[in-house]
């Protein structure tokens, strides 16, 4: 690990200013991903600003009937919060499907959103990677691509975002609040936080240098049954090959509304808007679920090792929809 200096931030604005003041400075919160990458010389901050003790660790009811989750709320506390479990079960399920008990106790809400890909080539400094070293090439394109993207990828990068939590938040239309070094705040829909790779896969989010996530706000819980389903290579403590967050409101034999977000398929949580439109007003049936699954994967492209993800994602969408409706 390269040498760095360390400071503990006094408040959110001070933290943002401290990082903004130095191009090689970074925020550290849980550290579970950042320190891992620093040990491998992939992340090389010269200065760390510790934001883990900032008073952003509360989950508060909003006047609108939603929840405002402080960026420093730990993943385990968020998953165990009674309001989240009863009103936003898809978020609890997603959090509990990710990482291990130890890591959930450390990982923060803001940090979870900003974690980096687990692409093997991003982690292997002996291999070209456009995300790690822009312009060096993508080793995954013609390499092992089992875990890689099938939607929204580019010739420059086919890495996926690994978060489960973000997928549930995308389905819930969550909004990410940030503070900039000048004290300015803004809200970004969670679906707009991460960028698709295009020609600059090294630029992963819309955040500026020194802009810090302070909270994630959930709107009032949408009507309907919420389910998070994760498919992975082992039953626990593994990243998703494919995951689906579904929220389905049924009425009799009909589907009033549906929301579908997929994980493990793209560089960001992937909302399947076409599939959602196809389901709204449809009769609940295998036909409707199958059509929705096809719509969700329109434009999907495999790279050899991950071709299987396309049918896997379709089946997972179909089964998750069926489970959500049957149990409604």
């Amino acid at each position: 690990m390269r040498a760095f200096t360390y400071e503990r931030a006094g408040d959110a604005r001070e933290a943002a200013a401290a990082v903004a003041a130095r191009p090689e400075a970074k925020f550290i919160s849980g550290g579970t991903n950042l320190l891992d990458l620093m040990k491998l010389d992939i992340e090389r901050p010269a200065h760390l600003v510790d934001v883990s003790r900032l008073p952003l660790d509360r989950i508060e009811d909003t006047p609108e009937g939603g929840l405002r989750i402080g960026a420093q709320v730990r993943n385990s506390d968020l998953a165990a919060d009674p309001r989240v479990r009863s009103r936003y079960p898809v978020l609890s399920q997603a959090l509990l499907a990710g990482a291990s008990g130890q890591i959930r106790n450390k990982a923060s809400t803001g940090g979870n959103l900003l974690q980096r890909t687990r692409c093997y080539y991003f982690y292997d400094r002996n291999m070209p990677c456009n995300k790690r070293e822009p312009g060096s090439g993508c080793s995954a394109l013609e390499g092992f691509s089992r875990m890689h993207a099938i939607l929204g990828a580019s010739e420059a990068c086919i890495a996926v975002h690994p978060s489960d939590m973000a997928v549930a938040m995308a389905a819930l239309d969550a909004s990410v609040e940030t503070i900039s070094p000048d004290g300015e705040t803004r809200a970004i829909p969670v679906g707009d936080l991460h960028r698709l790779p295009g020609t600059t896969p090294n630029v992963e989010t819309e955040l500026g240098h020194g802009e810090m996530i302070t909270a994630v706000t959930l709107p009032p819980a949408p009507p309907g049954r919420q389910i998070y389903r994760k498919v992975r290579d082992r039953a626990s403590y593994a990243f998703a090959l494919v995951s689906v967050a579904a929220i389905v409101e049924a009425s009799g034999d009909g589907i009033r509304s549906a929301r579908i977000a997929m994980g493990g398929v793209a560089a960001k949580p992937w909302r399947a808007a076409e599939a959602e439109r196809a389901l709204a007003g449809a009769v609940a049936s295998d036909r409707a679920y199958t059509d929705a699954a096809e719509a969700a994967l329109v434009g999907a492209q495999g790279y050899g090792g991950n071709d299987f993800k396309i049918p896997l994602a379709k089946r997972t969408v179909r089964q998750t929809l069926a489970a959500a409706i049957e149990r409604a």
Partner: protein, 218 residues
Amino acid sequence: MAETDNRNWPTRRTVLEGGAATGLLLAAGVPVRAQQDAIMAAAAAAAPVPTMPMNLTINKDEFSVELDPRTTLLDALRNHLGLTGSKKGCDHGQCGACTVLVNGRRINACLTLAAMHEGDEITTIEGFAEGDELHPMQAAFVARDGFQCGYCTPGQICSAVGMLSEIRAGWPSHAGTDVAASAALTDAEIRERMSGNICRCAAYPNIVAAIRDAAGEA
């Protein structure tokens, strides 16, 4: 061991891992991977690494140490405070051998900086027994033979104690079908909740049995 600061043992452990913290430059022949050679060379060429003072509370003892900011909590425990019960397996949060309790919660000591834990109550495996009397979880691991080589055991025990607190607090897990309901301590729940601790001897059936026993006693 009320006051212990940088102790420089001329041991294999110190030579292998303590390079930065003991003020030795990292060029001392440490690296394992070829890709680390460049880092080592850069470190050797750089000025001596600055240190920072830290006050850590471990097993109710106060320690004042002066450490490189890079020092993980695990390296602080093992290389600077003589608490080698917490083990280094993968050093990347995947195996759980380094699990300790911080303010009663289990975390991976390898994935956090010592500097981030001033003022926290840190409990390592050395803090579990009361004199010669083993903690119920330790006794259960012995009674059930919940290990073979024993390397993962301190992490397993710390993790299991933390996990039982989580169950008692009503935390849900991925093993349950309804996150809104409270969980019973089934074997499936134990296995899911302990998935951050790997045992390469595969003593899992006995580890699960030990945890079940200890949960019943507590």
